[in-house]
């Protein structure tokens, strides 16, 4: 495909075969994380230049969106590859008391919509998710949200190049969101 042909595709829905690959990638990624295979995820599914973000959303009136004072975007996650690797390394320390006994996490990925991005070999993917976390005996929380991903095909494999996560809750109704979405 030359660049002219590519730019004509930008913003168009991906073809059926590509959509299938994308969907498989997201499901495999969710299973790797569910199964705590964090190194597998980092090594094989995440691009080295990844940007992984979870900005907070202020609750404001529709007519009054202007930023006031010194406010700026507050991110719960604003990680590059090294920071993600640091979070993963924390699981390996053996001192993470909150994860022992292990937490049980299930990720449900749905509403997948993929379109060709402006860069060749890249796609923009929107998906909704439910992440169910169960800790100890009766500590159960479901978190709902949306992701906008940029996926990139490198050497025949899709990788996560960027992810922007939106949680619908303003007040997070859980003690933390220290899990990957």
């Amino acid at each position: 495909m030359n660049s002219e042909e590519h730019s004509a595709l930008s913003g168009q829905p991906v073809d059926q075969a590509t959509h299938f690959e994308i969907e498989r990638f997201l499901v495999r990624e969710a299973r790797a994380l569910d199964e705590e295979r964090y190194h597998d995820w980092l090594d094989n599914m995440v691009a080295k230049d990844v940007i992984y973000q979870l900005p907070t959303q202020e609750v404001r009136y529709r007519r009054d969106r202007k930023t006031i004072g010194n406010a700026q975007t507050t991110y719960l996650y604003n990680d590059n590859y090294d920071v993600l690797a640091m979070r993963v390394a924390r699981f390996d320390t053996g001192f993470l008391w909150a994860e022992d006994p292990p937490m049980r996490i299930r990720r449900y990925i749905t509403n997948i919509d993929a379109q060709w991005a402006d860069e060749e070999g890249e796609v923009d993917v929107w998906s909704n998710f439910i992440v169910y976390r169960s800790r100890a005996q009766r500590d159960n929380v479901s978190t709902h949200g949306r992701r906008r991903d940029r996926l990139r095909k490198t050497d025949g494999q899709w990788q996560l190049a960027s992810r922007v996560i939106t949680l619908e809750q303003r007040v997070i109704m859980d003690k933390n969101v220290h899990c990957f979405f």
Binding site: E58, Y61, N70, A71, Y77, V83, T93, W97, K175
Partner: protein, 438 residues
């Protein structure tokens, strides 16, 4: 509710477990503590312009803080005087009025009632709008930190802060002062509000153990604490003020919880600023400026100076709180440094923070074990360092060596018991009385 001398015993070293669980204790706290104390609302930097406002809570009361045309501040209940509905549903913004969505009553940014639909036709022009403004709340600022109180008889804010103000000046008096960066993170913990307040005021003990995994990966000068094997009691101290506030300080550790380049940049900034800060606050407080602090302003406003996290623990019933987290920086820091610090605060003490997630578990479980009737008949123990406190000329309050200590935590519970007794402000302990009795 049991008698107060059973709820807190031995000068704050013993707490009856019911104070973390029982609803009657909680309701008494709302009356005697949250309806009386100066409670943190917001910072000047968040609502600088006329009409800027922020919605927050004092205890469980929903309030609006708004910047007035003359630059002053007003705070009032977010509850319409007609039928009680909220008049503002946005968490912040800029406005000329607050209009109740129920019947359209409209209030000015000073909380006064401006317009009532059908005033002439339905109220016969007889309604006294001046008597129907939103309930005003006393509001005051200490060097940019804005507090409110429901109690008209409360002492002025500076007196309420007591000896704590002198210590706070170590970083509030830097050229340009400080600011808080938001919008804040908001999350919930199913714990009693006192569990996090006591943790921030004086629990240096947990750092090496609870946060071992984070210390292991983040490194830095506190990493040697991991597993609680090493500790030098001369590396810091704890201060407890009779007003209930307190903190622990770790010398020369201001940037200790900023691993990597942000820590280097922050340390350079502090080194560069130290001579000017020393000029302003003196040699003793320059040492505090260069220290890391874990602190609580009684009852529920906590911060880590150095790690730059600033939090309010909003009570939501005996076993639930809402956590609000801002980033605290010096106003004159370059934007690049502020951004790095803001990002680091989210990485460490944000809702997805690598230290925050350790604490949340502990706070919740310390509360929830008391669900058991028989468990709740017992007490918990804060005796570390008791009997080794002293008063020291030039340092307000009670001083104790070592930031791994429970001096400031005991002080918080002594104040808690004092306030719960319903004593008038004139009969409550102050730093000034402590010094006069020395």
């Amino acid at each position: 509710m049991k008698p107060l001398d059973q709820l807190v015993q031995q000068e704050g070293a013993i707490q009856d477990r019911s104070i973390y669980w029982d609803n009657d204790v909680y309701q008494a706290e709302m009356e005697h503590i949250f309806a009386r104390c100066w409670l943190f609302l917001t910072h000047d930097s968040i609502i600088p312009e006329k009409g800027d406002y922020q919605v927050t809570t004092m205890g469980e009361d929903n309030v609006i803080v708004a910047r007035q045309a003359d630059g002053s501040l007003k705070a009032f209940l977010n509850s319409c005087t007609h039928r009680g509905n909220f008049v503002c549903f946005s968490e912040a913004g800029n406005t000329r009025s607050f209009v109740c969505p129920y019947h359209g009553w409209s209030f000015g940014i000073d909380g006064s009632l401006q317009d009532v639909p059908l005033e002439k036709q339905a109220y016969h022009q007889e309604i006294d709008k001046t008597a129907l403004g939103l309930r005003q709340i006393r509001v005051a600022s200490y060097k940019g930190l804005i507090f409110g109180t429901f109690d008209e008889s409360a002492p002025p804010l500076e007196k309420y802060l007591g000896g704590m103000a002198w210590y706070l000046d170590s970083f509030l008096d830097v050229p340009g002062g400080i600011e808080l960066i938001g919008p804040p993170m908001k999350s919930t913990l199913e714990c009693n509000w006192k569990n996090p307040s006591e943790n921030f005021i004086g629990d240096g003990y947990h750092v090496g153990w609870a946060h071992a995994s984070a210390l292991e990966i983040a490194g830095g000068s506190l990493a040697s604490m991991k597993g609680l094997n090493e500790y030098d009691k001369n590396s810091g101290l704890q201060i407890s003020l009779p007003e209930g506030h307190g903190f622990g300080a770790i010398w020369e550790c201001v940037a200790a919880l900023h691993p990597g380049p942000p820590g280097v940049a922050y340390q350079q900034w502090v080194d560069q600023r130290s001579p000017a800060v020393k000029e302003i606050v003196g040699e003793q407080r320059e040492k505090f400026y260069r220290a890391h602090w874990n602190a609580t302003i009684f009852p529920n406003c906590s911060f880590l100076y150095g790690t730059n996290t600033f939090k309010v623990w909003q009570p939501r019933g005996p076993h639930s709180i809402e956590v609000t987290t801002w980033t605290m920086v010096e106003k004159e820091m370059p934007k690049e440094l502020k951004d790095m610090i803001h990002a680091d605060n989210m990485l460490t003490f944000g809702t997805a923070g690598i230290l925050e997630s350790d604490d949340g578990e502990n706070f919740e479980n310390c509360t929830n074990s008391n669900r058991g009737h028989s468990t709740r008949q017992g007490t918990v123990y804060l005796g570390m360092g008791q009997g080794h406190e002293r008063q020291e000329a030039g340092l307000p309050g009670i001083v104790s060596d070592g930031w791994v200590n429970e001096t400031s935590t005991r002080g918080m519970y002594r104040r808690w018991a004092e306030m719960m007794s319903g004593k008038s402000w004139d009969n409550l302990s102050t730093t000034a009385d402590l010094e006069n009795n020395q």
